[in-house]
Amino acid sequence: MARESFDKEIQFLRMLALTSGAYSRQQFADRLGISVHTFDKTMRRLKEIAGTAWQQPKEEQSLPLAELLRSSYYESADPVLLFLFRSKSVKESESIRLSQIIIALQRESLTAAEVLQQCCDGMPEDMAMPDEKTIRSDLKYLEGTGVIRKESGSRPHRYTADNRFITELSDAELSDLYAFIDVMANTQIPSVQGYLLRDSLKKTLKQRSIPESSFLYKYHYHSRILDESHLYTILKAIRERKKLSFLYFTPKAPQSYGSKNTNPLFERESEGRQHTTLPLRVAYDHQYGRWYMLCHSSRQGIAIYRMEGLTQLQESTAVEETEFEQKLQALQQKIRFSWLVDTGRTVTVKARFYHPEGSASNFIRERVRLQGQWGTVTEESDQTFIYEISVNGTMEIKPWLRSFGSSCEVLEPRSLRQEFIEEWKELAAGYEPVRENL
């Protein structure tokens, strides 16, 4: 069987989460570069996974997937898109066998022969009984994932599912652990493993009738966890100094995925472009909740890709350590003053900020302190202060400065000041009150 790729599902869910219900089936399929038939099939499959993974009440299961994603936004800290990571396909017989093994090893340690016996006892009547060789390879797989471990001691080896960090905790301790995992998974990156663990613990809490107290997290970028699916492939390549090749769809293109057709009759020119580059670092942008891959490419030098545009990611050749080090240093030098990832010319941006009028707390000052990165603040008068920063280009910092509205006046560079004046003029015109006496 060909290696299962989840590119389609990832692009599919991202589009669904971002555009929640904007497109018809045909429009949606066109933008993904798939047929309406494939669209329907994918939708059905994702709904089935979401339905099983979330265990929602029956009446909700009939809702369209876009609605389901939306309805979970508030009142719940459950990451709505986590079910993507539950979509690896497994044959039914294998799924029954693997779960039988894990269940058998929960409370006691067993040898392979004993596991085989228990599995045979637990298999449904109409299914073929597993043989010892199959069980041994299952045990090997599970040991590899860390779900079970081999106990030390003489042969025959005994296996156990080691969950002592859960089973040895009191109810109060488990409740604290759940809260901790919840907070860390929701506020730190990477987070998918934390969310998966949170899912398991949530079920344990339920079984032990411990009330689950969840916190609320406001202003989360829900689709950020989709990009973590590429993260480990990239981190591995970085560690092994290997190049990666992939088909890249820039987010500015109207299409974001291309089906890989095996039948040449139906083959379409895909709009993505094939790239091979050496990954050096990964960046997460907190302003939008987006991920970037920072690379060196032989054609263009430093190359920066949005992770959401990467598909068909594959490892390629490795480079020498010295070459990697040299490229990495060049990158670090270039992005030292990037507000996000801009590698353009460094300029000094200077802005005057105005304290809020008639407010006891100086929230402008506080926001500049929290979000102003490495910029410096100098007091100017009792109503104003000056913020100064050396930054690569003005493109990336501009939206942040503009978000302060009339509390921020750009002083330098002059060109940026002029841009702000022009833009505020346009905005003033756009928001001019409509006169109704016509």
Binding site: A53, S95, G144, T145, F180, A283, I335, E423, W424, G430
Partner: protein, 273 residues
């Protein structure tokens, strides 16, 4: 190991749950042990639980250490807000009061710096703002009968206090009704000439409850945002963030505020509209 594993498959997980079994992979444990090594963990557990947890993690996940320290090095976080105290020491006791539906006696500072002593209240929710990097307690003030939002940072003391079940229930109802009544809606149109930036714009609004519509004949996208009245200021900062790429077409208050901001900004630059 990949994040797409057979072991995470949805049918597998459902089977395990039915049998009350748990499957935790090495990478999940590695993630947890990396988190347990962070200073935040000190505030999340009693000292003895933390010792116990750390030793339990050490027993089974030694290879974690190198790998997770690597992760920190290879991932750069950009434009993040400074985080004060992520795991506030009051989180544990307040969470307990919340789950056990207890009342509270709170001493806290208000905006002008003055302190309110031992006020009786009923906790509703603990909320973390990813933008301000700050915890808030949403609670009901029993004597003044009003909804309160207090930064954990401003709470000097929180003691549990008994509250009659009836009063707790009434407070909870009041809070739910209050938040439902504060729902606002606004429509934001993406100016078609900026459709190439659609992805960026949608990302910027992806932290809100929203619905998007698309009109093919004019190639126009409209975002209907649903938010609470107290969030207007944050919504506005997002709108200013995107500037001329978008236009609020429905939402008088937001439009008025945007107009004022533009006028006032122009005055800052010495331009009289």
């Amino acid at each position: 190991m990949s994040l797409f594993e057979k072991i995470y498959n949805y049918q597998m997980i459902a089977r395990l749950e039915d049998a009350e079994a748990v499957a935790v992979t090495a990478q999940e444990r590695e993630w947890l042990s990396a988190m347990l090594r962070r200073p935040e963990a000190e505030h999340a557990f009693s000292p003895s639980t933390l010792v116990k947890l750390r030793s339990l993690m050490n027993r089974d996940g030694d290879r974690a250490i190198d790998e997770s320290e690597h992760i920190a090095e290879e991932i750069l976080e950009k434009a993040a807000s400074l985080t004060g105290q992520l795991y506030h020491p009051l989180l544990r006791p307040l969470r307990e009061a919340l789950t056990n539906r207890l009342g509270l006696q709170l001493t806290y500072a208000v905006k002008d710096g003055s302190v309110r002593m031992r006020q009786h209240g009923y906790p509703y929710k603990l909320e973390y703002s990813m933008v301000k990097r700050e915890w808030y307690l949403l609670w009901f003030h029993l004597r003044r009968r009003c909804v309160m939002v207090t930064k954990l940072q401003n709470i000097a003391e929180a003691a549990e206090a008994l509250i009659p079940a009836q009063q707790a229930e009434a407070a909870e109802k009041k809070m739910t009704a209050y938040y439902a009544s504060k729902q606002q809606q606004a429509v934001i149109q993406i100016i078609p000439q900026f459709n190439r930036e659609l992805s960026r714009i949608l990302y910027a609004f992806s932290c809100f409850d929203k619905e998007v519509s698309y009109e093919e004949s004019t190639d126009t996208y409209r975002i209907t945002l649903i938010y609470l009245r107290d969030e207007s200021d944050f919504v506005l900062s997002r709108i200013r963030f995107l500037g001329k790429r978008i236009l609020v077409t429905e939402g008088d208050y937001l439009r008025k505020r945007m107009y004022e901001a533009a006028q006032k900004s122009l005055m800052r630059y010495g331009i009289t509209p």
